[in-house]
Amino acid sequence: MELKKIRNDFPILKRKINGKRMVYLDSAATSQKPKQVIKEIEKYYENYNSNVHRGIYKIAAEATEEYEEARKKIAKFINAKSEKEIIFVRGATEAINLVRFAWAEKLRPEDEIISTVMEHHSNIVPWLMLKKKGIDLKFVEINDDGTLRMEEFKKLITPKTKLIAVSHVSNVLGTINPVKQIAKLAHENGARILFDSAQSVPHMPVDVQELDCDFMAFSGHKMFGPTGIGVLYVKEEVYREMEPFMGGGEMIKEVFLTNATWKDPPHKYEAGTPDISGAIALGYAVDYLEKIGMKKMKEHEKTLTRYALEKLSKVPGIKIYGPKNAENRGGVIAFNLGDIHAHDLATILDEQGVAIRSGHHCTMPLHSKLGVSATARASFSIYNTKEDVDELVNALNKARKVFGI
């Protein structure tokens, strides 16, 4: 598909902000949605809205079929062995919390979890909550170029290490972590491996079998789907180590007043009425991504990132965080400009129609490592263009003028 045609699929990109074309550079927070996905949500509510897995009637069967079809599409998309390995959740945060409650509850005092200092809070806080159970947490540090200190994994891992939880792509530094290597190390030491793939699945080909991960968490809304839906991938053999953490309808086989039995996974972990329209729409978002092609997504973002790194590095006073080379990073660039606070930058850019993120991006420990309280962040998707990057650079130069740097 041509870029122009792709941009036309995203109605919101026609919006004007302060009389200027909106330049949306915050896809790492949430992606925009193509009309093909928006239409499917409308279609569900207008044509076959009904609860799944229960009704005998026609539209209930249609809803169940579409819901389960979405699960199959997602399984195929990340090359899971079976759709049974796909659990629908609200988003990556809930996916990681599901692992914390359904799998990590069985951990014993002095068991260890290894994570990294570059993680999003969603891959730190659930593990911090286990500290009161006596679980030890260890964090791998980063090098100056924003890559993980890989040698530290080997130093930190012990027979007591039960889980390594690491982001696939950093939502601030853009670093693509060597997750396959980390998974290998975890498995050689009898630990499970969890990838926070919220920033990778929407942007590059991801193959759970090739990476050999046990858990993978990602959000639908960052990959052209709606908010409120996400995925936890669980390698089928790992289900043996898990117990449901939410009880209720949909997840049971039989209920008596003395006990209950559970459905098989993945339904065992989907208590209550799920986000049916969200799951179905996410299935169509996957169709849309596959139509573009994940290799093309990655290539396009890499080209933009290379261009942006080159252009941005010429802006006087700028400090860019993370790997300098576009080959090793996703389409996320965090930076600061002189001593202008990131919030001031974001406001000045907004006044020019350029939407970027500012703050700590849910990575306070990483920001304290970087020695700053906030950064500005531009992030890309397939609908962004070199002109968008030029607009960003122009807007930054105007900010320099305003602040006299």
Partner: protein, 141 residues
């Protein structure tokens, strides 16, 4: 093009903050942080026996909006009686800044007021007023 929030007045206070620094042996001092953006300020006061603010200084780091707001606030409170701080509110701060603050930036503009209020209320032993202002603060978005 003109920038709505970054008027000359704001940038002037940001680049040349008034009453910036510290006071030797202050009667009141208080420091607070907005963890969301890392803005942090300390305010120090010298109070005479009648409760008049005879000197005020602030120092810290933050965005242009919060720093300008802090600078302007020192000018507002200097010479006032500490009991008058109760009458200072969000409206006064916005009026003195003289710009339209977008909702996501409201807390930037109000952080200095929070520091001043908690400092003075603590000094006066008025826990109820602190709680009331903190409630108002939580609603600012």
């Amino acid at each position: 093009m003109s920038f709505e929030m970054y008027q000359e007045n704001i940038l002037d206070h940001y680049n040349n903050p008034r009453n910036y620094g510290t006071i030797e042996n202050p009667d009141i001092k208080f420091h607070d942080v907005n963890p969301l953006c890392g803005d942090e300020y300390e305010f120090q006061f010298k109070i005479d026996k009648n409760g008049k603010i005879v000197d005020v200084k602030f120092h810290g780091n933050g965005c242009a909006i919060s720093k300008a707001s802090a600078s302007i606030l020192t000018e507002t409170v200097k010479g006032k009686n500490i009991r008058e701080i109760k009458n200072l509110g969000r409206k006064n701060v916005l009026k003195n800044l003289g710009i339209t603050i977008s909702p996501p930036r409201l807390k930037c503009a109000m952080l200095p007021l929070k520091v001043v209020k908690v400092a003075v209320y603590s000094y006066l032993g008025n826990q109820k007023e602190i709680k009331e202002f903190e409630k108002e603060w939580d609603k600012m978005e």
